[in-house]
């Protein structure tokens, strides 16, 4: 079997270079989402009257999406497990299931947003809705990015190639899930 001459591990880092890059990316994401969430929290505390607006977010849609993302994280980690066992075909299928979860999330989100916009709750209606659309919108873009990357990785995985990437894209997906775990109570539960 021929090996491609790619430096995947550096002695100074002690871990896969690509994995280090993913963790580094997530560290920057913590600052991005952390800034948005911290801003929202301080405004929510400073403006208790926002509760009058928050009452109109759709808890059923948000809750369903939380369940979908938690379940997609399960399929992502099972894909990682399959990759550890060198079972690329199973890993690819599980990654596709994860992409399916992301798709369901986006479909629910689009119906939810369409309904809210129809009722006049637009991004420029007031600061609460501005935060709502900004935070959930940035998160949605990350879901789309994760789905795209996962399709790419799944395509290699089904051929038993670059299986280490299954874990890397999984770590990214779990982070997207993790952000939603905080967005859900902030936007849908705290009313």
């Amino acid at each position: 079997m021929a090996f491609k001459p790619i430096a995947t591990t550096r002695s100074a880092a002690g871990i896969l270079t690509a994995k280090l890059a993913v963790w580094w990316l997530l560290a920057s994401e913590v600052v991005i989402f952390g800034g948005v969430l911290a801003s929202y929290i301080m405004h929510r505390i400073g403006h208790p009257e926002w509760a009058h607006y928050a009452v109109h977010t759709n808890t059923l849609a948000g809750g369903t999406n939380t369940f979908v993302l938690l379940t997609s994280s399960l399929s992502a980690v099972l894909a990682h497990r399959a990759a550890q066992l060198k079972d690329g075909a199973t890993a690819a299928k599980l990654l596709l299931a994860t992409v399916g979860g992301g798709g369901i999330f986006l479909v629910i989100k689009s119906f939810e947003w369409a309904n809210e916009i129809k009722h006049g709750y637009t991004i420029s209606a007031n600061p609460f809705w501005s935060f709502y659309y900004t935070a959930a919108g940035i998160h949605g873009l990350h879901v789309i990015a994760g789905m795209t990357l996962m399709l790419w990785v799944a395509n290699d995985a089904r051929k038993n190639q670059e299986l280490h990437r299954v874990e890397l894209v999984g770590i990214y997906w779990h982070f997207v899930d993790l952000v939603w775990i905080f967005l859900f109570p902030l936007l849908y539960i705290a009313k």
């Binding site: 913590v30 809750g63 550890q84 006049g120 209606a125």
Partner: protein, 176 residues
């Protein structure tokens, strides 16, 4: 090729190449997922009790527990190099630093030698409108308000930009 052995914790030691990594059983991950779903259901049920502090605990306390579980069991950060923990923690510290630096100005509407007139007026207006049942939920920020069909504020509603409370006896806006 791969070689699998199982230990007493349901792990399969999977040896390949120059290192060995532990492969958890499928049931391990399903149990973690089950616990996450149960916690999620509790967080949804929390507000139904109607006790504010309980809602905060079930919403945000559980979110922190769920996040810890995802980080540990799904992202496997617990077995990652220590320095990865450090630079993730550094990012979090920046978030808290931002919060600590900015929140005193945002969370309060007045202090020594300053008053956030706009925030106070908006707060008073929203509360007055809510009390009168005329809160323009979709607008509320003056010229930015864009009433949608069937959700226009009732006639005679004072322009939001003027921060005036709605007249008494005004019919509530439709919907919401």
């Amino acid at each position: 090729m791969s070689d699998h052995t199982h230990d007493s914790h349901g792990h399969a030691a999977h040896a390949h190449g120059d290192h060995e990594e532990h492969v958890h059983e499928v049931s391990h991950y399903v149990k973690v997922w089950g616990a996450l779903v149960v916690l999620f259901l509790i967080s949804v049920a929390g507000p139904m009790v109607g006790i504010k502090i309980l809602t905060l605990i079930t919403a945000f306390g559980i979110a922190i527990v769920q996040a810890s579980m995802v980080v540990k069991f799904f992202m496997h950060l617990d077995i990652e190099k220590r320095y990865v923990h450090y630079f993730l923690a550094t990012s979090l510290m920046f978030m808290f630093l931002f919060f600590a630096g900015v929140s005193p100005d945002v969370m309060k509407h007045h202090g020594t030698n300053w008053t956030n007139v706009s925030a106070l007026e908006t707060k008073a207006r929203i509360e007055a409108e809510a009390a009168a049942g005329t809160l323009e939920h979709h607008g509320g920020e003056g010229e930015h308000a864009a009433p949608a069909e069937g959700h226009a504020p009732a006639e005679g509603h004072a322009p939001a930009g003027e921060h005036a409370p709605a007249p008494e006896g005004q019919a509530p806006a439709e919907g919401h």
